[in-house]
């Protein structure tokens, strides 16, 4: 498929990022370099002897008649050790290196190798592999310690299979050196290196798909406890501006129990990526204790960078995610934001004069979105391991209107929906995830995990809390019509209970060092504690205790602060507090029980 020879042609027309060229024998999807600057682009349509190319860089001062070169291969990424900890642009150019080479601004036509060619990596070949053994694509031939936490598995590229002729002994190799040779059934000998290339628009193969089993633990209470997401599943985070999409994505990138996190900043703010680059090396992975950057990789195509590369960026991200999945890792990919990617599609289709369907978007928006999200999944890899790609896409609906095309098409595809609400954000209720609009199709599967690992009562408690929030919404409507006096004591206690859940469980501060991460144990403890207090209170109200007296119990104020007073390792202290709280209720109970006896 990869054709090495390059061919020459000329530019016919320039219309912004869309350039028409004449290049005999060019393929659809082929990479080309155009003009004297050698700008990179991709053929997106063929018309007779003309080809239409989308250019990843600005075409200012490019003129008709300048030369064009066909590179003979589609847009591909380099896959090998050295990816983790890096920051790449939408077509995998290494931004740190570009900064050192070219300064503050991204120059045109410059394209250093994505992976460092000089660096030596300690390669340890897989045991039991002998020359003359048959070997398949995706088979593991050795490992390289990429970062302290990531043991990178070197695999035979998926499109090569045959007989292993030679495998290098343990030693230090750079990326260009041959570490093995495979003869395919046509007798052609392939030299294997520590890296290989893969076209980004082609999903990498696997043996079979598996169902998701384990929830992704993000340490965020509203996500894990109320709207769980399975490893290998797909999720959308829609929200108007200012509702906190980026903070939710950053929190997941920080605290998710994944092996690898790929963060794609697609058409978003430059400073948000700087925030990740600045803060992640200083933050510790709660599971390994190592700096978070040791498992993180950034793809950055900020909003001011060329639109066409933005379209490519999420494919670059997902291909790298699949590559680590094939090594047997659980990968989380965050795409912020898929709306900007869809807008890039719209811009290109508009320039091609394609018929728009909804709000200017092309008719193929829905199918492209679906095909992209389908690249997530938990699979059995070619070498019979298990790996997963969990995909979380932010959506930026214009005006916060979830009925717009990108949100509504995405909603049809995904399993978990974390809907952000402007009203909650305006009241500084963070994370502003709306418990009414959000959903998870995987609660049943997640419940099995919670029941086995945390507590049998999880699903029931979760249901009770949601029911109470629903009841709260209903009662609040009445209050807004006729005032709080219209409610019975029991109803007013429901309002109090719902407030406790909102403040004590749902609200979680990303900025508070303790509250930012909640282990599953702590999440359940807090929920159970608040519901227990509610139940105790409800029983007292039956006895005739006024709501006022309960609401003013000092223990309630403390209950709201439990999330930030006890960290995830202080489960015992939480238990002690629970006992203390129950004592307070008992005291009131016995007081009223006595009074009841006296009056009787």
């Amino acid at each position: 498929m990869i054709n090495k020879e390059s061919r020459k042609g000329t530019i016919l027309e320039i219309n912004g990022p869309i350039v028409t060229i004449r290049l005999p024998g060019v393929h659809n999807g082929e990479q080309v370099r155009i003009g004297s600057l050698g700008l990179y682009g991709e053929v997106i349509a063929l018309e007779g002897d003309k080809a239409i190319v989308q250019i990843y860089e600005s075409t200012e001062m490019v003129r008709p008649g300048e030369p064009v070169e066909g590179l003979g291969h589609p847009l591909s990424v380099e896959l090998g050790p050295g990816l983790i900890g890096g920051i790449f642009d939408g077509v995998q150019r290494p931004l740190e290196e570009m900064f050192l080479k070219a300064g503050d601004q991204i120059p045109r036509g410059l394209s250093p190798d994505p992976l460092d060619r000089e660096k030596l990596w300690r390669f340890v070949p897989t045991e039991n592999l002998e020359p003359n053994m048959p070997i398949i694509g995706g088979a593991r031939i050795g490992t390289v310690q990429e970062t302290e936490t990531v043991e990178h598995r070197i695999m035979v590229p998926p499109d090569i299979e045959g007989e292993l002729i030679e495998l290098a002994p343990e030693g230090d190799y750079n990326l260009e050196e041959t570490i093995g040779q495979v003869r395919d059934r046509h007798g052609h000998v392939h030299h294997l290196k520590l890296f290989h290339r893969w076209p980004v628009r082609k999903p990498r193969p696997y043996q079979s798909r598996d169902n998701g089993i384990d929830p992704l633990i993000t340490g965020q209470r509203i996500l894990d406890t109320f709207f769980p997401l399975l490893k290998g599943s797909k999720c959308a985070v829609p929200g108007p501006f200012g509702a906190g999409k980026t903070v939710v994505q950053h929190q997941v990138a920080r605290w998710a129990n994944a092996d690898i996190v790929i963060y794609v900043g697609c058409g978003e703010r430059g400073n948000e990526l700087v925030d990740v680059l600045d803060s992640f090396p200083k933050l510790k992975d709660p599971y390994t204790g190592r700096p978070l950057m040791d498992r993180t990789l950034l793809i950055a195509n900020t909003s001011n960078m060329p639109v066409v590369a933005r379209e490519a960026s999420i494919y670059v991200g997902i291909t790298i995610a699949e590559y680590y999945r094939d090594q047997g890792f659980d990968v989380v990919m965050l795409a912020d934001s898929t709306s900007r990617w869809a807008e890039a599609l719209r811009e290109v289709s508009g320039r091609l004069g394609q018929m728009p369907v909804e709000e200017g978007y092309p008719a193929y928006l829905a199918s492209r979105l679906a095909a992209f999200y389908e690249r997530a999944g938990r699979v059995e890899t070619m070498d019979c391991g298990k790996g997963s790609v969990t995909l979380i896409g932010a959506v930026s609906p214009p005006g916060g209107d979830f009925s717009e095309p990108v949100t509504s098409h995405t909603k049809e595809i995904i399993q978990t929906f974390w809907a952000l609400s402007k009203e909650l954000a305006d009241a500084r209720h963070y994370p502003a995830i709306d418990w009414v609009d959000s959903f998870s199709a995987d609660v049943g599967t997640a419940a099995e995990w919670w029941h086995e690992n945390i507590d049998r009562g999880w699903e029931k408690r979760r249901g009770q809390a949601l029911a109470m929030l629903a009841r709260d919404a209903e009662l609040s409507r009445i209050v807004n019509l006729v005032g709080p006096e219209a409610l019975s004591s029991a109803q007013r206690w429901v309002l109090e209970g719902a407030t406790l859940i909102k403040e004590g469980v749902l609200q979680q501060s990303a900025l508070d060092p303790v509250d930012t991460f909640s282990s599953p144990e702590k999440q359940f403890m807090l929920l159970d504690l608040i519901l227990t207090v509610y139940d105790e209170g409800a029983a007292l109200i039956e006895l005739g205790v006024p709501v006022q007296e309960l609401s003013e119990m000092p223990v309630l104020a403390r209950l709201r602060r439990c999330k930030e007073l006890y960290d995830s390792s202080q489960i015992d202290q939480l238990k002690a507090f629970r006992e203390e709280a129950l004592q307070d209720f008992k005291a009131i109970h016995s007081e009223y029980a006595q009074r009841g006896e006296q009056t009787a």
Binding site: L12, E13, I14, N15, G16, S58, E60, M61, V62, R63, P64, I87, L95, E96, M98, F99, A102, G103, D104, Q105, I106, P107, P240, F241, G242, G267, R269, G270, N271, V274, D275, L277, A300, T302, S303, N304, P306, V307, R340, E343, G350, G360, S396, P398, G399, D401, K422, D426, A427, R428, V479, N480, V482, G483, E503, L511, P554, A557, R560, R561
Partner: protein
């Protein structure tokens, strides 16, 4: 520069001119056009093929006649001449002097379409700017290198607020002032004069570069104007090491000009007739603010835009909000109550605030105080709604306290004089005065230590 003139114009429509039979012309090339009266017009190539080119004419295509139009291709992109002399000057959207003084002569000329900043070259903005306005400093702090727009609407005092920010902005404990780049697009003479007098009376005029396009100037010039202004700002910030505050008004006029040109070009419209690339186009402008590694200067951007029919979901404020790092929203309701500055607290936000305030920057209690004020005010507004239905007399004592808080907050914290320059210390103390009307257990967003130190009941 090519001296050759072409008389092969074949079509002129809606500000666009087609010229046939030209040799290969660069995309984005700058063009000079001579019309039948001998007047010069400026343009830029927006589509170039081996057969013809399409030129966007900044002054419009009215009165052109195909026979007597001469077109010259300058073989250079749209550029601006830069030197320290630009300070104190006034330019048009094409970089030509508007102050009856000679043009800038300099060997340094830069294309106004700068290559994008490498994200790896940026540093995260963290230095708190004290604007002296409590609603901004206390609740939506601005930091050096941030882009924080003012969302306004017709008839609201956004210009006065922008001028107050320009006048008062400084780093606490640092008296160095900002250099100002002022970009006015489609503004009225009255507004332009207001700013000019404002800059003159506060003595900063020599430190200001103005780019002005009046409401009756060609709208196409509004497309190059912000790029001219930002190229000048980048020069001041990253070549001359200055801290630059860029004020742009009114971005809505910019977007409308973009729509006008896009429609003439036949671009597919997305929402409300605006082209699908409005987001990317606005981002090209807004993302030019920021801080760069190893550079002393910075660009802080305060764009002003008016929300058509006060609608925050209109594409212009909506897309802006997705790009900028927060927004200051003005409220007609507060304005009608006579409160200045009428900052609408709930939808206002500063995304970079979290890293620029607190211990080492402003004061340790700042993050929690701001959070607490937001939460109380949100609750207080709910109570106010309730009171308007059932009457204030029906409220519980607890609810009445919220009601009083809402009034006190608006009257004492939000309201301030146009010349009142409050230090951050004053702003925070004022906040604690208001918070102290609540008992300590009602304040769950501030810590117990902060309460002991600043709350007036528990501190005694």
């Amino acid at each position: 520069m090519s001296a050759k003139e072409y008389r092969t114009a074949s079509a002129a429509r809606g500000g666009l001119l087609t010229v046939s039979n030209v040799p290969s012309i660069a995309f984005g090339d700058r063009v000079r056009i001579r019309d039948q009266k001998g007047n010069t017009r400026n343009g830029q190539v927006i589509l170039s093929s081996d057969e013809e080119v399409l030129i966007q004419v900044f002054e419009g295509t009215d009165d052109l006649d195909m026979e007597n139009t001469w077109v010259r291709f300058l073989d250079e992109p749209v550029e601006i001449a830069l030197s320290p002399e630009i300070l104190g000057r006034v330019f048009s959207g094409l970089g030509e002097p508007r102050d009856f003084r000679p043009p800038i002569v300099s060997s340094l000329r830069r294309s106004i379409n700068a290559a994008p900043f490498n994200p790896a070259a940026r540093t995260y903005p963290k230095e708190f700017i004290q604007t002296g306005v409590s609603t901004i400093d206390g609740l939506n702090s601005l930091v050096r290198g941030q882009k924080l727009p003012i969302f306004s609407a017709s008839g609201l005092p956004h210009n006065r607020l922008a001028a107050q920010i320009v006048r008062q902005a400084k780093l606490p404990d640092d008296d160095s002032r900002f250099s100002v780049v002022f970009a006015a697009m489609g503004v009225s003479y009255a507004d332009a004069r207001f700013f000019q007098e404002e800059f003159a009376s506060s003595g900063v005029l020599g430190n200001v570069v103005m780019f002005v396009n009046m409401a009756d100037d060609p709208p196409v010039e509004r497309l190059t104007l912000p790029r001219m202004a930002l190229t000048a700002a980048e020069y001041l910030a990253f070549d001359l090491d200055r801290h630059v505050l860029v004020v742009m008004t009114d971005m809505t006029h910019y977007a409308e000009a973009l729509r006008e040109v896009a429609t003439a070009k036949g671009d597919v419209p997305a929402r409300k007739g605006y082209p699908g690339y409005l987001y990317s186009d606005l981002a090209e402008i807004y993302e030019r603010s920021g801080r760069i590694k190893d550079r002393h200067g910075s660009i802080t951007l305060v764009p002003v835009l008016s929300m058509p029919s006060d609608d925050i979901t209109h594409p212009i404020p909506d897309l802006t909000g997705y790009i900028t790092e927060g927004q200051i929203v003005l409220s007609r309701e507060l304005h009608n109550q006579g409160i200045y500055p009428p900052v609408h607290i709930s939808p206002s936000l500063s995304r970079l605030m979290k890293d620029g305030i607190g211990k080492d920057f402003t004061r340790e209690d700042h993050p929690h105080v701001s959070n607490q004020l937001y939460a109380l005010y949100a609750r207080a507004l709910e109570t106010r709604n309730l009171a308007s239905i059932i009457g204030a007399d029906e409220l519980s004592a607890r609810d009445r306290r919220y009601l009083e808080f809402a009034d006190a907050f608006e009257e004492r914290f939000v309201r301030q004089g146009e010349d009142e320059d409050r230090s951050i210390e004053e702003t925070l103390n004022l906040a604690w005065n208001l918070l102290s009307s609540f008992p300590p257990q009602a304040l769950t967003r501030v810590t117990e230590t902060e309460m002991a130190k600043y709350h007036r009941q528990s501190g005694e």
